[in-house]
């Protein structure tokens, strides 16, 4: 425990800015993964236990595309589009067979794919740590905000995630497709009776969720190291986010992810050995005081 370091940081604006931005990027990446998880759960009523694998694939796709083309934009596109297609196939071929089945069965199918996907990555990209490297466009002088160092790439990352959050929020509440999706989450039988292809919606939502996780992975690729199995800790953290924020709530996912990101970045100063423990502690406190999560509506 190192409370002096924490107090010292809180009283210096430079450190405060640095830690807050690093907390924000952790939070924003978590949000992108968690919002996909919560969306899939809200509509399909399954928890995609293999969601972390999409994050992992997003990162690897982006790295490969970047190495082939040298274009950062194409790398992001490859990460997002590749995982979207993967999500669609995964949902149509496998997950659609276990809707309404036991939770155990759904967990098992996903568990099988966690094992398979990790090994597939190991075969294609090798078991060692890989890194994509920072694109040349972002290898510029970092910005100084109130004395704190902020790499420009962090700003881009936060901006992209924020845009995704806003588009998603508005799209779900305002657009026709968003309304159909919400109707399907509420009463799929009625929606399909009205002549809408619910199978397509399910596949689409799963692809969207996979795409968001893949985008998070692609965005994280320049700043994190890539390894098979990298998705799992992200999955656990994003599940904690959805538990804290309330399952099925996008705003909850955003708030939960940001809180968790800040806990991680400031917690690593004050409690370097117990940073992860802090997150679980926070989750337990929320669960005990409000079992449905901060923004959960009905009984979980």
């Amino acid at each position: 425990m190192d409370l002096d370091a924490l107090a010292g940081c809180l009283s210096s604006s430079a450190c405060l800015v640095t830690q807050t931005t690093s907390g924000l990027i952790i939070g924003m990446l978590l949000f992108l993964v968690a919002v996909g998880l919560t969306l899939i759960f809200g509509v399909l009523k399954v928890v995609n236990f293999s969601h972390g694998a999409f994050y992992m694939f997003g990162a690897y796709f982006a790295m490969t595309a970047y190495q082939l083309t040298g274009s950062f934009a194409l790398a992001m596109l490859a990460g997002a589009a590749g995982t979207a297609i993967l999500g669609l196939i995964f949902e149509r071929v496998f997950m659609s067979r276990v809707y309404g089945a036991d939770v155990l069965m759904q967990l098992l199918v996903c568990y099988a794919f966690v094992l398979i996907f990790d090994d597939v990555v190991r075969i294609i990209w090798g078991p060692e740590f890989r890194s994509m490297g920072m694109p040349a466009a972002f290898q510029v002088m970092p910005l100084f905000i109130a004395g704190g160092v902020v790499p420009p790439y962090y700003l881009l990352l936060i901006g992209v995630a924020l845009i995704a959050a806003i588009v998603l929020g508005i799209g779900l509440t305002r657009s026709r497709i968003g309304k159909v999706i919400r109707a399907a989450a509420h009463n799929p039988g009625m929606v399909s009776a009205l002549g809408i292809n619910t199978g397509l919606i399910y596949g689409g939502v799963f692809a969207l969720g996979g795409m968001l996780a893949g985008l998070a992975g692609a965005l994280a690729a320049p700043v994190r190291s890539l390894t098979p199995g990298m998705g799992f800790s992200v999955l656990i953290e994003s599940f904690i986010v959805t538990v804290i924020g309330g399952m099925g709530s996008i705003l909850g996912a955003l708030i939960g992810a940001l809180l968790l990101g800040l806990i991680r970045s400031f917690g690593s100063l004050g409690f370097p050995l117990f940073t992860e423990g802090l997150m679980y502690l926070f989750m337990v406190i929320v669960l005990v005081s409000k079992p449905t999560g901060l923004f959960g509506k009905e009984a979980a």
């Binding site: 967990l107 098992l108 992860e276 423990g277």
Partner: protein, 339 residues
């Protein structure tokens, strides 16, 4: 005794006799199974076979205890492996740091497990299905990350090294391979027998009722929360015994024992063997360990093979092997009676 009570006693008598009879039968089967397993070293000198049985004991206790939660109570725990790891680490640490006799360390580990399981269970058992699964998983990761980061105490990612001292007690010397083997078998058989008694007791049937209809159980005056918490702690104790057997076997404890994949394997073992019969998880354990040993001999990518086998069971058979056999038998019997 009033007439009504007398009548009730009379009506319940056959049920009680039936239960007593079943208990004698279970004890008899346990004795025979133990005799067969314990005499194995007389016939074979194969260390590999005995090692295999010891590993089956450790995982079998763990998987069967998980079935108490998954199969009997309908609590899909995805973090049950934490108690396996907890048992291995507590036992190893107590033996290394305190140097007490093995039975003392055994009981102390059970006490520690019960305490931690009661705290975690009190938070988790209120939650429904998928929340329960993931929050137990989160606790498992918490314990795993604590083991990794508290390196000065637990050895971090290196695990508990330097071996666990195994002083002899009551004439049993666990550093002797055959003694360790017989002790593991005894723990397995005793553990299975105890769990069987729990499953067949009135409490066990209460658990089945909670699984099938928790609301109705609650209306009938059952404290659902307390029953779930009780079985959560009981299952944790047996998982912890499995962990201790494992720690004795490898003479150490490693972070992998507390990693989530142990829980995943436990769930898969249950699926493989089947959750509708008591011995299903035991069959699943043997199958999984055989599968693991065979696959790792041929390829380093055993995740893919294991994943495909899981998919075959989950999407193809849609039930465990013993479930399949039991259903086949009951269908045959029905057909026979129909004629």
């Amino acid at each position: 005794m009033t007439e009504l009570e007398a009548g009730r006693a009379e009506r319940l008598a056959p049920v009680r006799n039936g239960m007593a009879l079943q208990r004698y039968r279970d004890v008899l089967i346990a004795l025979i199974a133990f005799a067969v397993l314990a005499s194995l070293p007389l016939f074979t000198g194969s260390k590999a076979l005995l090692d295999f049985v010891i590993r089956c004991s450790a995982y079998g206790l763990f998987a069967t205890s998980l079935n108490l939660l998954v199969g009997y109570t309908g609590l899909t725990s995805f973090g049950h492996g934490m108690f396996f790891g907890l048992g291995a680490y507590s036992f190893g640490l107590i033996m290394q740091k305190l140097g007490v006799p093995i039975p003392v360390a055994f009981v102390a580990t059970l006490a520690i497990t019960a305490l931690i399981a009661a705290v975690i269970g009190a938070i988790c058992v209120r939650l429904k299905e998928i929340y329960f699964a993931f929050v137990t998983l989160a606790f498992q990761m918490l314990i795993h990350s604590t083991i990794l980061s508290w390196a000065s105490f637990t050895g971090g990612d290196q695990g508990l090294r330097g071996g666990i001292p195994r002083p002899a007690f009551f004439g049993i010397d666990l550093s002797n391979h055959v003694h360790l083997y017989v002790t593991s078998c005894a723990l397995l058989i005793l553990g299975l027998l105890a769990m069987r008694q729990i499953a067949q007791s009135p409490f066990g049937f209460t658990l089945r009722m909670i699984r099938d209809n928790a609301a109705r159980a609650s209306f009938l005056g059952i404290d659902v929360w307390r029953a779930k918490l009780t079985v959560f702690v009981l299952a944790a104790l047996f998982a912890s015994i499995g962990g201790m057997v494992m720690a004795l076997f490898v003479s150490g404890a490693y972070p992998e024992f507390a990693y989530w994949t142990i829980s995943g394997e436990g769930i898969f073992i249950n699926m493989l063997g089947g959750v509708s019969t008591f011995l299903g998880p035991m069959v699943g354990t043997v199958l999984l360990l055989l599968l693991n040993d065979t696959v790792t001999r041929f390829t380093e990518y055993h995740g893919i093979v294991l994943g495909v086998v899981i998919l075959f069971f989950a999407l193809g058979l849609r039930k465990g092997l013993l479930d399949f056999v039991a259903e086949w038998f009951s269908r045959r019997r029905d057909a026979g009676e129909g004629r």
